[in-house]
Amino acid sequence: MNAVEIKKLSKNFGPKQAVCGLNMTVPMGAIYGFIGENGSGKSTTEKMICGLIPTSGGSIKLYGKDYTDEAVRAKVGVLIESPGCFPGLTVWDNMMLEAANLSVPNAEQEVVNVLKMVRMEGAAGNKYKNCSLGMKQRVGIAMALLGNPTLLVLDEPLNGLDADGMRIMREVFLDIIKDGTRSIIVSSHLLGELQKVATHYGIIRHGKMLVEMTADELDASCRTYVALQSGEMNRTKMLLGCKYSRVEEDEAGYIRVYDLTTPEDIVKYLYDNGIIVTEIKTDKIGLEEYYIDLMKGGR
């Protein structure tokens, strides 16, 4: 049984088709990185999963049951766009409201626990409107964690978080899925951060799922390359360009050779042409580059 199983999902806003025939599978125990450009249909899909907007067609099953089933809904934690909090109330009051909404037993203790998880226990008395963007995101995640949810749907939860905040969130996510039944759908534009935790990926474009894959499959399909530096970068690039089909200079100032080759061959080739390589390494492209490549139609 999968945590989320979506088949032929569609959503129209008047004549505009925001999501069209989307299929998506989130296995149990997965951290599902849901990726796409702005306006690709990510948030719309997540809103449909959460029951905020009705579908125009297709089906959504959560743990084998229809997404409207109250029993399943009671176990879905959500952070869509921004936390739904009352600005004039304190963090504590907002959390208690959500606890009441979810009929959480022993609400006060549970609120303390989730605030501790996101390191916000010291700011419980702050008015929500006085919290920084990062603190607000943490409150939103704490709210989503209330009631021990089985499925978390988090839309851009890493926005505004500092480095420590992101590390904490990674720990929280990994802690949640460790029993193998709970799952998290995370959409984020911070692909580097997402790659550190995601076990599965879904890439959406123009309302359609372009590709779904596991982290291992992504790893296997990410191309390796040789990156090097020399004392004569321009000449090196020109020489490599003559021999290899894809040679690019990256932002860090390395020349990358994507063709199937070995560092030894490249060093020898350049040495024969009078160039000394000062640094050379092999690496793989990351999620971000894979995604950009995919969007450019490179795959």
Binding site: G51, A74, E81, F86
Partner: protein, 278 residues
């Protein structure tokens, strides 16, 4: 190691308890409720005091009311108002109440809290019921503070306090019961105009004034037809709870209020089910 997943279907009482818990928590933890209670107390006191004050030149003013309890309810069923005294009574609570409901529900959407409400086990029906009950409670509380403000203001103004106690009690209870019907109307209006706060307030105010029924009554009276059927509407039944009411008026208030609450809740639920909530 994996554990078995069990999903427990929350009962209606569990769901509604959660939703009511949220709404009552909000009601009591935000200043808006207390401000409106104060407004409901101050307005009758001010109206009765100001209308008995002498003019700037020392001339005696004509009191607005002839009896203290007219501040609370009209002396008889008057769908078409003959003077401001027929109108300026506890029915005004339903006008302020409409604005209060608009602010209360509007904040759900403005703050985005509605996302939290509708992404959990709560059904749209629970939302409608909870908002209606909590807002009806708030408006009934406003009726009480209006009563207190009216009595204090009327006593200071020196109005005659002679009254048929039974009718007075029925009038007050009738109006408190009508809070349920009015709250359901305002909840429905605010669901329709949930993305347009200004229109929500304006529409609540418009319906709260009862102007549609007053206009209809003028036409019906002009045609020489009986106006009793107007009691099936919220404003008509509210006017029918007055200082000459009997137990029948209270029963009408109960039936009309509950019937409209049911109708507006069903309509609001259907609307929410079909539309994009956020």
């Amino acid at each position: 190691m994996t554990r078995e997943l069990k999903f427990k279907n929350p009962s209606f009482s569990e769901r509604i308890k959660g939703m009511l818990g949220v709404d009552f928590y909000r009601l009591f933890h935000t200043p808006m409720f207390y401000i409106f209670l104060a407004i409901a107390a101050i307005i009758p006191a001010m109206v009765s005091a100001m209308t008995t004050m002498p003019g700037p030149d020392g001339s005696a003013s004509t009191p607005l009311y002839s009896n203290l309890w007219q501040i609370i309810a009209a002396s008889k069923s008057l769908y078409v108002i003959e003077g401001i005294a027929d109108y300026a009574n506890m029915n005004m609570v339903f006008i302020f109440g409409g604005i209060m409901v608009s602010i209360f529900i509007g904040h759900d959407y403005k703050s985005g809290y509605v996302k939290q409400l509708f992404t959990t086990h709560a059904k749209k029906q629970d939302y409608m019921i909870s908002k209606t009950l909590v807002c009806a409670f708030a408006m009934a509380c406003m009726c009480v503070t209006y009563l207190i403000g009216g009595i204090v203001g009327g006593m200071f103004a020196g109005y005659d306090a002679t009254v048929n106690v039974g009718s007075l009690v029925i009038a007050v209870l009738g109006k408190m019961v009508m809070s349920l019907g009015w709250a359901s109307l305002y909840t429905f209006l605010n669901v329709i105009f949930r993305r347009y706060f200004g229109i929500s307030v304006a529409s609540s105010f418009f319906f709260g004034t009862g102007i549609l029924i007053i206009g209809a009554a003028a036409i019906v009276e002009g045609l020489g037809l009986p106006t009793g059927f107007l009691n099936v509407f919220l404003y008509g039944a509210s006017v029918n709870a007055n200082l000459s009411s009997g137990i029948g008026s209270l029963l009408i208030c109960i039936v009309v209020s509950v019937a409209w609450a049911f109708i507006y809740n069903v309509a609001g639920t259907r609307l929410l089910n079909k539309s994009d909530v956020y």
